[in-house]
Amino acid sequence: MASVSLKNVYKYYWSKKGKVEAVKNLNLDIRDKEIMVLLGPSGCGKTSTLRMIAGIEEISKGKLYIGDNLSNNLTPAQRNIALAFEDYALYFHLTVKENIALCLEAKKIDSNIIKKRIKDISEILGIGDVLDLKTTTLSGGQQQRVSLARALVRDPSIFLLDEPISHIEIEKRYRILAEIKEINHKFGSTMLYVTHNQTEAIAVGKRIGVMNFAELQQVGTRDEIFNNPINLFVAGFVGQPPINIMKCKIISEEDVIILKVENSSLKFIPEAKIAKELYKLNFKEVILGLRPQNIYIRKVSDKQKSIKGIIEVKEFLGEDMHLVLKSGDLKFSVYCNIDMELKKDKELELFYDQNRLHLFHPETEKVISASL
């Protein structure tokens, strides 16, 4: 198991339209024994990054370190990596056990050790009872587990997973993610997991790297990305239901800086230190983000401020509720616990914490934070 470090890495290729930058100036550290997730929309560069670390694509510029070794020129075999893809690429004519054992036998490892490893791994992945079956008889979920077992049993330095669960039945998806985490916990394998689905990213990774347009936008834990997004893209991409985005004019009422939402009667009051920053920057407009999870139907503390809206849609979802409220032309979402009293067209007072307001520069879309 090893750490992986990318320093100023670029990936270019040439198409009819000229030079295309698939990855731009990437600096990323994957710590030893951690699961790092690369999250982003299709075409953002995450798959290119994975392939460069694997060695199946050349690094155009920059340095890749696996452990302490500069690895740009090592072959995939020399890098000792394991890959798990969307299509599992199992050997159809062999049984599950034979699939898993094949490469170990090739390395001429002692057969007792092989047996023990297979036993341990198949226990965690829940494939102990299908070891003697041919792989073609298995379900998608089981095949993916066999593919993972086969990659793992080689004890790789780093485990690269590219959207491995997209072909698995929906009911089984989260179990496999739990098992992947369990493997990481038990064997200490360093993993890089690539996906475009933010729910998956949150479920599997401790730290998440969000990418867009070939650049790494932000790296952090779910908490950091959720509560301190570095720009509008990250704030909007992570979070279900998506963050409410509102364009605001900065006005001052009685010496207090107020954010008035366009085409609506909503007014938000930012924290004092942010207000100071806005005043210093002398902006007239700003983009406000507030998560549906951070808008409450009941006041929890005195420090909370309030806004009003009329319920347009009430979605009862069993374990929780989703409301869409209207204020003027603006529609915004609230995610909350069950309250059967709420009905459509009712005017509701809602509460928020000032420190949960995210303000973004109207042009650069970067977050505005208090300068130290």
């Binding site: 998506p242 979605e315 374990e319 989703h322």
Partner: protein, 371 residues
């Protein structure tokens, strides 16, 4: 907007019984949801109402008129298929305009009127910029909207939607589900919508019919289906994570429930105790929803059931963790996405006894609904 009635409808495909002697009444203008796992018979139900499949047995009535022998084209229904079934060789415009140009509707609309109607519906569905594209040039979400446009434009009396959100990306699915609320307001046709996702069902439906293997399990409003499932099949399929089910015996003297698999007891009181006394039996299958079980990392009077943690998953807004009390596996849903429980950590659980659901061990039916 007709009332739709089915009486004793049976539909077989060779040996498989897709619909087994179904009788149901759907009210005028109702948004009626058919919920069930795949293979339950939902699509067959819609096709029978549309006339694309003919039942071996039984009658179908629209507002009291028997329609069994009326051809599909004359029934004035609109249907969206699970895989959209757009005409691959027609543009988006022509796909949506198709129902207005058919022989059943010939001469009803001239070219100008057709153009206006297509504009109106495509604007409403935000696809008016795609009119010249072919279906193969659209994303899944866009194809879904075109299929909807084609169904809505007829303004028919009955709207049948077959799993419209099944194949759409998760993020878009949530958005579209919310949008369906807006669309519902605009079109007060009798609508039958099928899904295997209970969230769609309880969010959108006026009433829900739970179908399993061709048989009706329960019909009711969303709150009833969720909080008072008629039997274990409904309880297991409505709600995520799956409801925890385990056997218990009642000790009426101590007002306690004993679970043999986990070898623990806990107190019951109030309405729940009354209910059990009235029903009388001493053995039940108990259902505890994952978000009605709470935990603490320290033992106390309330949190007194020791459990060992298994794996846990962090989701968008919640966490799920698996815990074991002796031999009993439990799933617990917590409203905190930042849960950090370690594998094999000890926790202490507590059941919210008033929210437990009791099923008769022989019939698997919810005892509360027996009143």
């Amino acid at each position: 907007m007709p009332k739709i009635s089915l009486k004793n409808v049976t539909k077989k495909f060779e040996k498989i019984v897709a619909l087994n002697n179904l009788s149901v009444e759907i009210n005028d203008g109702e948004f009626f949801i058919i919920l069930g796992p795949s293979g339950a018979g939902k699509t067959t139900f819609l096709k029978v109402i549309a006339g694309l499949e003919n039942p071996e047995n039984g009658e179908i009535y629209f507002d009291g008129d028997l329609i069994n022998n009326i051809a599909t084209a004359k029934r004035d229904v609109a249907l969206t298929f699970e895989d959209y079934s757009l005409y691959p060789n027609f543009t988006v415009f022509n796909n949506i305009a198709a129902p207005l140009k058919s022989s059943a509707n010939k001469n009803k609309y001239n070219t100008k009127q057709i153009r206006e109607k297509v504009d109106k519906f495509t604007k409403m569905l935000s696809i008016n910029h795609l009119l010249d594209r072919l279906p193969s040039e659209l994303s899944g979400g866009q194809q879904q909207r075109v299929a909807l446009g084609r169904a809505l434009i007829k303004e028919s009396k009955v709207l049948l939607l077959d799993e419209p959100l099944a194949h759409v990306d998760a993020k878009i699915r949530n958005q579209l589900r919310t949008e369906f609320h807006f669309l519902r307001e605009k079109f007060r046709t009798t609508t039958i919508y099928t899904s295997h996702d209970y969230k769609e069902a309880i969010s959108l439906g006026d009433r829900i019919m739970f179908l399993n293997k061709g048989e009706i399990q329960q019909i009711g409003i969303p709150e009833i289906i969720y909080n008072f499932p008629k039997n274990t099949i409904v309880a297991l399929n409505v709600g995520w994570p799956e409801i925890n089910l385990f056997d218990c015996s009642v000790n009426f003297e101590n007002s306690q429930l004993y679970c043999p698999k986990g070898d623990f007891v806990f107190n019951i009181s109030g309405n729940v105790l009354k209910l059990l006394k009235i029903y009388g039996k001493s053995e039940y299958l108990v259902g505890a929803r994952p978000h009605h079980i709470s935990f603490s990392d320290k033992p106390s009077d309330v949190y007194n059931l020791k459990a060992i943690c298994g794996t846990s998953e962090v989701l968008d807004n919640q966490s799920v963790f698996y815990a074991k009390i002796k031999n009993l596996d439990l799933t617990i849903l917590v409203n905190d996405p930042d849960l950090s429980l370690r594998y094999k950590q000890e926790v202490w659980l507590s059941f919210d006894d008033q929210s437990l659901i009791f099923f008769d061990k022989e019939t698997n039916e919810n005892i509360k609904l027996k009143e």
